[in-house]
Amino acid sequence: MPKTKTEKTKVAAVKEAPIKESPKKDNRKVVLMQGNEAVALGALDAGVNFFAGYPITPSTEIAEILAAELPKRNGVFVQMEDEIASICAITGASLAGAKTLTATSGPGFSLMQEGIGFAKITETPCVVVNVQRSGPSTGMPTSPAQGDIMQAKWGTHGDAPAIVLYPDSVKESYELTIRAVNLSEKYRTCVILLLDEVIGHMREAVTLPDIENVRVISRIKPTVPPQWYKHYDENQKYLSPLASYGEGYRFHVTGLTHDSHGFPTNKASEAADMMERLRKKISHNIRDLVQIESHKMEDATIAIFAAGITSRAAKSAVAAARAEGIKVGLLRPLTIWPFPDDAVRRMLRNVETVIVPELNQGQLIHEIQRLTKDKSDSNLIAIQRVNGRLITPNDILRKIKEVC
């Protein structure tokens, strides 16, 4: 039954969420916080102790806050000479045992792509926060866009698994930063957190959880003697222990295709094994990775599929349409890659029309198209905007009224 499955997915998602509600609610302070600030605090609460970055609007506040906070906690903040150096420095530090994160925006994210591929092939944990701005190129640095959704998956060359999270609020920016760090440590890969410019800069009243309620995941260290250690050990879940440099395990790491010890190989069988391992690490753990929010979808005949800031406009539109008796709901991915195929298929089975608003010229909608059975687009409606302005609740409400 589709409905039960939805529930299950939601339960799994909730279980995985790092934040537990605190019992002593009154003691928690409500603070007005910016999205970028929430990312910085999330990083600190997740145990990030190494940040290397290069300033770029609209992500700079993350670097500024961590420059002030990390030295207080024996962490390292270093401003590198560019974004290429930044992704390399955090990957190096991670291999030396640090929990690492960097933050950037479109132009810097483009520069980081080769380094992101390196972190993925070497299975090195790290987090890249991309506070998206209008592009391409320099674009409009202080204006929002959702143009990096495909780049977050396909930006680096070659087939590489992607874990990409996408918050819709200041609070969720905090939560998903912690989740991004946790997933990077657990899955030994570069996890990407996509923020919208508006969310990075917006302030909301936020109640942060007590630090003791934050669930932090750290990489598993090897317990075998060094001569038995394999840098890429296999097990059923494709998750393996990770040694750090300078602690007695003198392992080798290379961006070349490698065997399970980490040494370069040209053997077809070993190359295939490595690629399979990278793929299965993600595809065998979809349940753990995919988080979605299903908002008023129970009886919906029209569904909106939207992420980040655009989903907030959609929620307003849903409220307004429902006030007029229109049965419309919202499906929102918190994990954008891997794509929530199952949830979208269920949505497509249960509704007549899907509206996909996004601040680009069509990225998410192609994923929905991929999953539509009859490939006819008549019931798939796009709202796309790339002029630096948000899609508003009214824009979506108008479309809802057009189709119902």
Binding site: K72, V76, M80, A85, T91, H252
Partner: protein
């Protein structure tokens, strides 16, 4: 050289599956590898504390052969990765092995900024004047008018003086030697590793199979002899008339300064911030 004890090789090289190495016969890279491990053996450093990082190119294949903590990174980026490792684990001796193209073309930005920060990395730059691994393309140190596959009519660009570049950027230890002067090289690498700050040793090297063939430099022995004959020690420069110095490779430690080291400065900053917080 003849009395290198066997055990050095046994102790510092990875034997299973890694050999034979990728380098051509007559290549200087093996001599530099020998120099590095003998320098380390001399200092009796703990292998667990040694980190070797490289980029892409012939020289950058070195880490796979040595039994240290080793990281083979992206083209040009070795110094940036090394910076991350050193900052998180300042007790480690971080040695970057790189080449002229890797370090001064694609990686030039990282070189100058690491030198400016004076972070305690030891960069061993093996300069063979060409992109050898990919078959002989022009590099920033390919001499003027020399032939490369991407400069088939002769190189019209002036070449980089790498040591001057490093010194200009603020490196606190800069030395130049050649693969022919193996003992001098080994000692210079040792001095560079001991030096608390950014150190760079440029090793002029021979690539007989690619650069030598393209530019009719003869075989490996001829190129080794050329290093011997076309270089003069720094100490001799002042005593020689300018015409005898012109066009020669000047060998020696060109700079050895004491400057605040970056990891030390960061540790001080942490102390200062925490003392202020405690108040």
């Amino acid at each position: 050289m003849a009395n290198i004890p066997q055990k050095i090789i046994h102790e510092y090289l990875r034997h299973d599956k890694k050999f034979p190495h990728v380098w051509c016969s007559g290549c200087s890279n093996g001599i530099v590898l020998g120099g590095i491990i003998r320098a380390i053996a001399d200092m009796q450093l703990d292998r667990d504390d040694i980190m070797m990082v490289s980029g892409i190119g012939c020289s950058s294949r070195m880490p796979v052969y040595v039994d240290f903590n080793t990281l083979h990174t992206l083209h040009g980026r070795s110094i940036a990765y090394a910076t991350g490792i050193k900052l998180h684990k300042p007790h480690m001796k971080v040695i970057v092995v790189t080449g002229d193209g890797d370090c001064t073309a694609i990686g030039g930005n990282h070189l100058i900024h690491a030198a400016r920060r004076n972070i305690d990395l030891t960069v061993v730059l093996i300069n063979n004047n060409i992109y050898g691994m990919t078959g002989g393309q022009c590099s920033p140190t390919t001499p003027h008018e020399a032939i490369a596959t991407t400069a088939p009519y002769g190189n019209i660009e002036p070449d980089f003086n790498i040591c001057n570049l490093a010194m200009g950027a603020g490196a606190s230890f800069v030395g130049r030697t050649t693969a022919f002067h193996a003992i001098e090289m080994q000692n210079m690498i040792k001095d560079a590793i001991i030096h608390p700050g950014f150190s760079m040793v440029e090793v002029i090297s021979a690539c007989p199979v690619i650069f030598g063939r393209l530019n009719k430099k003869g075989g490996a022995p001829d190129m080794m002899k050329a290093m011997r004959d076309n270089s003069i020690p720094l100490a001799a420069v002042e005593k020689l008339p300018p015409e005898k110095v012109e066009g020669k490779i000047i060998r020696g430690i060109l700079r050895r300064d004491e400057r605040p080291e970056y990891c030390d400065e960061y540790a001080k900053l942490v102390k200062r911030v925490q003392a202020k917080e405690a108040k």
